[in-house]
Symmetry: C2
Subunit: 203 residues, 2 copies
Amino acid sequence: MDKIKTENTETEILIAAKEIFQQKGMAGARMQEIADKAKINKALLHYYFRSKQLLFEAVFKSAFSLLAPQLNKVLNDDSDLFEKIKRFTESYVSFVIKHPYLPNFVIQELNKNPEFVLKLRSEKNFPSISKFKLQVSDAIQQGIIKPIEAEQLFINIMCLNIFPFIGEPLLMALVDVDKDNYNKILENRKTEVAEFIINSIKI
Amino acid sequence: MDKIKTENTETEILIAAKEIFQQKGMAGARMQEIADKAKINKALLHYYFRSKQLLFEAVFKSAFSLLAPQLNKVLNDDSDLFEKIKRFTESYVSFVIKHPYLPNFVIQELNKNPEFVLKLRSEKNFPSISKFKLQVSDAIQQGIIKPIEAEQLFINIMCLNIFPFIGEPLLMALVDVDKDNYNKILENRKTEVAEFIINSIKI
DNA sequence: AAATTTGTTAACCAAACGGTTAAACTATAT
DNA sequence: ATATAGTTTAACCGTTTGGTTAACAAATTT
């Protein structure tokens, strides 16, 4: 049953690497720290993943493959536009509570390594905006929403949902609340954000 | 006139350090690279700033002192609420074009070092939301805007303005446009964002 | 102009880093 | 039981890192 043992170790490494990389980034992460967290020898990291770069890429891709389905909830879901926005804003908060460092990690590393986006794009399941575009122009033609470019609306949805987590330390200081009260604000945003968006676009 | 020469070197170091730190972060920056960019010996960095940490803190505080006045345009300006939102969204884009890495740098390092916010907060000119709160509740009472918590509105304004730059590589890929077309989208946001916000809250 | 302080450099250092090696251990197959 | 293949470790290696030193150069002071 060496297969099981191997998979266990490999999984332990990935779990440990995910935590360290997501908190400290590629540059700030240390192989020794990952090994310690996985409770194994440092050499084992290289036995399973050859280099820091390859381990990082494994973690990054796995992180993005968790994020992509969330984004597809806006882009490729069949439900009604308003309903979709409501559902997304609600589920996204729950998602980030489960994976607090993930969106920031993905965005940060993409900023430091923009070419990396090409690798992601070529993979299947990479979210596409085309369906969403049709849905928006349909809604405009049917007189349900005011004219707006689908790209702008999509960006707005992303902004309002993702940034409160990425900008948390800054926003907490500016709004002048502690962690508990900021969490209450985030909790309220589950419904608040969808309302804010729909108010803006509905006729 | 050694004062002038000193200040020049010190300034050269700060300029170089700002570029390197903002692009690569504290963990990714190398003292040698900063020295090279400033065209001086590495030992001089330590002569003027003693350690990487202190040099970083100097850069960070200087970066934040550029950002703070921008934020105060929303929080402590005397103009009318709608006018304020319009002006801010327009001027923020210009600001980020001038300092492309700055907001991301501040937010990223605050995430990796949340205690740092305390140091910023204690300094004068740290933006405060209290005036904005009054303005919002006044506008609600006068029936100009729908009821909304000032904190939520402020967070929304921040989201819609800051995130398009921080999330640029991701958003570019999702919206499926190249840099030129993304810049056009950003250009449109100068007016689009304020419109979006005001549409949502006005009665 | 001599002395002192300030600015600058080349050479160096110890620690930390990513990565390698060779040997030991474990488990299955023969 | 023994060979074989996969797993794990301790010890090691060369390089890079932030930081220091000691000597030199330039400017100020006396």
